[in-house]
């Protein structure tokens, strides 16, 4: 458990009701601003950073004037587990650094290994294997989207598979299928993002808060991801009229066209390619076995594993590591750091306690109804705003709810964690702004001048999202009874 959660377990001051109400409005304001990020033309990190700064300043000043003996923000030194005290600004321990290091390490690692051409090689190889048959191509690209979303991240997966789809369907002269393919891939990124603990940020946040390990997470999520992927692909086949080729002549022409792709073109060095394959396997194995690492190495955490492998990979480009540092999504990291500060402030202002009471009432419903309502609420909220603040807030709230963590204060097996994970991820499929990867899907769709409006997307995608959410409700209910 991180310093962040350890710090925030106890709120020792009285908070006036008007202060809680004020910060609730601030939180709503931040969520609305994030939902209208495109209209504001400001990056997430700046929006949330501004709110974080505002919250810190106002809560400090309000604390000074209301109850100076017990300020809302607990200024002072941090006591380390060995008893040493360390002076840190309040906003430093407010940040969950385990989450930040996982994201930083994993994104650096992926940035370097993707230079080896490993992902594009695989994508082209599968395109050739499909022999240009549209239905096989959809199945292969669907599987590829899920795998890339799980191993890389949803946005990169959408960019790689979406770009290849544009090129390959253009070559096959089947641009009539492009819209259906891109929508399906956009929807599958959020399904694939459920596969592992590090596949999406909500997974990392909720998984860390719940104490779910990499392997248990994978074993629980994999069957659902498999079923949801298949159902989505068949639904796409019916919705978009994707059919296999019938005549031998059609098959021959299509096969010849895709055979023209040269997968080796994207591999700059065979040696680096195979090293990247080994590094990637090592990365996955170490993440999976992180909790079983010997000699207390497990104490270093998953973030260290990610940073360690990023460091190893960087040695292949030792003269130009700064290029990769520049490629890190600092906006995303700044957004997370600021978000943790905002949530910390909200906790001190007892805003989370108020929301928690509402969620507590929901969790008190009979078993399946409680799970379904939490999952649907999370999905609905995630469809209109960023799922990361949602996951962060809900993880904080559930981490102190006895119905979730029980009397021992920790219960990684609670189905409610999974309701948040499934809801936060799948809710992104309802609207084009519901997740970063569907935003990218829309960008590719518009870049190709395909006619699809916001409402058009909702009309098509919500049918898929409803099916996926129903499947998730059923799956959480079944697994809560099995395990």
């Amino acid at each position: 458990m991180s310093i962040f959660f350890a710090l925030s377990d106890v709120v020792e001051h009285e908070v006036p009701v008007w202060v809680t109400g004020f910060y609730l409005l601030v939180l709503i304001g931040m969520v609305v601003c994030l939902a209208f990020e495109e209209k504001i033309h400001a990056k997430k990190s700046l929006i949330v950073g501004t709110f974080a700064g505002f919250c810190l300043v106002t809560e400090t000043v309000i604390g000074y004037f209301t109850d100076r003996a017990h300020p809302m923000l607990p200024f002072g030194s941090i006591t380390l587990p060995n008893g040493h005290e360390i002076a840190l600004p309040i906003y430093v321990p407010a940040i969950d650094w385990s989450v930040i290091t996982i994201i930083l390490g994993a994104s650096l690692f992926v940035e370097v290994t993707s230079r080896s051409g490993i992902f594009t090689w695989l994508a082209i190889k599968l395109t050739k294997q499909s022999k240009g048959d549209p239905w096989r191509l959809l199945v292969f690209y669907g599987a590829l989207t899920v795998i890339f979303s799980a191993v890389l991240n949803n946005v990169t997966a959408m960019i790689i598979v979406g770009s290849l789809t544009t090129v390959s369907l253009g070559k096959l002269e089947r641009r009539d299928l492009l819209l259906g393919f891109l929508i399906t891939e956009g929807l599958l990124t959020n399904v694939g993002g459920l596969l592992t603990l590090i596949s999406s940020v909500p997974n990392i946040i909720v998984g860390q808060a719940a104490g779910i390990g990499f392997v248990p997470f994978f074993l629980t999520a994999a069957p659902f991801v498999g079923v949801a992927t298949l159902v989505t692909l068949f639904q796409a086949r019916l919705t978009f009229g994707v059919k296999g080729l019938l005549t031998d002549e059609e098959k021959k022409v299509a096969a010849e066209l895709v055979a023209g792709f040269d997968e080796k073109e994207s591999v700059p060095s065979v040696r680096f390619f195979w090293c990247s394959v080994l590094l990637l396997l090592g990365f996955i194995v170490c993440l999976a076995g992180q909790s079983a690492l010997p000699w207390d190495l497990d104490e270093l955490g998953m973030g260290f594993v990610a940073l360690f492998f990023a460091g190893l990979a960087l040695w292949f480009y030792k003269h130009e590591v700064d290029t990769f540092y520049k490629a890190v999504d600092w906006d995303l990291l700044g957004f997370f750091a600021s978000l943790f500060v905002v949530i910390y402030v909200m906790e001190q202002a007892e805003v989370l306690a108020i929301i928690g009471e509402g969620i507590g009432a929901m969790l008190s419903l009979p078993g399946p109804a409680a799970q379904a309502s939490l999952l649907v609420s999370a999905a609905a909220a995630s469809s209109v705003t960023d799922n990361i603040p949602l996951a962060a807030v809900l993880a904080k709230i559930l981490a102190v709810n006895p119905l979730v963590v029980g009397s021992e204060g920790s219960n990684p097996g609670s189905p409610f964690w999974w309701c948040v994970i499934y809801g936060a991820n799948l809710g992104g499929n309802i609207t084009p702004i519901g997740s970063a990867s569907t935003v990218v899907a829309m960008t590719i769709i518009h870049k190709n001048r395909l006619p699809l409006t916001f409402l058009g997307f909702v009309k098509v995608a919500s049918a898929f999202a409803v099916v996926q959410i129903i499947l998730a409700i059923g799956y959480v209910w079944i697994t809560s009874h099995l395990f």
């Binding site: 594009t120 994508a123 082209i124 946005v155 990169t156 960019i159 790689i160 979406g162 770009s163 290849l164 544009t166 090129v167 390959s168 070559k171 010849e256 066209l257 055979a259 023209g260 792709f261 040269d262 997968e263 073109e265 994207s266 999504d329 906006d331 935003v439 990218v440 960008t443 590719i444 870049k447």
Partner: protein, 296 residues
């Protein structure tokens, strides 16, 4: 005047999408497809009499033995047509797979220079039939090679994907001969684009020059490699070589023709955007009069 200073810079995802599209497009190859060009009928058009036509036909059959064996040969002599329309009508009626003729038909009195003559000019523009232009002009013919056609040079400014051009070249070449697949990028045009790039601060000029040149060479080179592979798979054993370079097109081709033992040039004449003959094909056909040319 509005200066385009404030182009919105692409977002992070726009850049990444573009980057991956480029990677996949670079991996895209235009495969060569071999097709056996069967020429079943050949029309020899001359402004001379039947006797002269018969002599030319003997030379031609020696020059193109594969065609000689398979095709039915007819001759259209000077007394059968008196203007372009009559000749076109004859060709429409006979529908040959290949027309063989000379520059400057029926123009002996004009002492023609640097021209194809009105008959050839109109035939290349209006007929889709390949036209084999004999060396020299009708008034001053040059002799054909004394052996079968052993050196065929494909000349184009866009080799990639032009299966028709390659297949015709292969069909005219002796099985023991050599086909050169030539692609010359216009360096003047390239320099003009680079001058424009030099004025754009967002683009690194040196990098742009290197990368664009690399791709301009890579595309025809990959296609030529595909041709070599495709012909081998089709059991065509003649020698195929590729020449891909930058330069002034006509000057380069003149240089290449003088450097290699070329018996026949194969080039495209049709231009989708204009009725007139393709600029480079016209320039080559009036300047390189010593070599036979197959105009497609």
């Amino acid at each position: 005047m509005n200066e385009p200073w404030h182009h919105p810079s692409p977002s992070r995802s726009d850049e990444a999408i573009d980057e991956f599209e480029s990677i996949f497009k670079r991996a895209e190859r235009t495969p060569y497809r071999f097709a056996d060009i069967s020429i079943k009928s050949v029309a020899l058009v001359t402004d001379g009499d039947q006797q002269a036509a018969d002599v030319m036909m003997v030379d031609l059959k020696r020059f193109l033995p594969q065609v000689a064996d398979a095709a039915e040969w007819v001759s259209v002599t000077g007394e059968q047509f008196h203007n372009v329309n009559e000749l076109l009508q004859l060709m429409h009626d006979r529908k040959p797979d290949l027309i063989v003729t000379s520059r400057c038909l029926s123009e002996a009195s004009l002492v023609p220079q640097h021209t194809l003559g009105v008959y050839v000019d109109v035939m290349t523009q209006t007929l889709s039939t390949p036209l084999l232009l004999l060396p020299g002009t009708a008034p001053q013919p040059h002799p054909l090679a004394e052996t079968a056609c052993r050196g065929v040079m494909v000349v184009t400014d866009n080799l990639a994907g032009d299966d028709r051009l390659v297949n015709h070249a292969v069909s005219c070449c002796d099985p023991n001969g050599t086909v050169w697949l030539c692609h010359v990028e216009d360096d003047l045009l390239f320099r003009r684009y680079l001058d424009a790039i030099r004025r754009i601060p967002q683009i690194n000029t040196e990098q742009a020059q290197e990368l664009i040149a690399e791709q301009l060479v890579a595309i025809p080179t990959h296609y030529a490699e595909s041709c070599i592979q495709g012909l081998k798979e089709a059991g065509v054993n003649l020698t195929v070589e590729q020449i891909v370079e930058f330069g002034h097109r006509v000057a380069r081709y003149k240089n290449l023709v003088s450097r290699y033992a070329v018996d026949l040039l194969v080039t495209n004449t049709k231009d989708n955007d204009q009725l007139a003959m393709h600029g480079m094909a016209y320039a080559l056909s009036v300047e390189l009069t010593d070599v036979a040319q197959l105009l497609l």
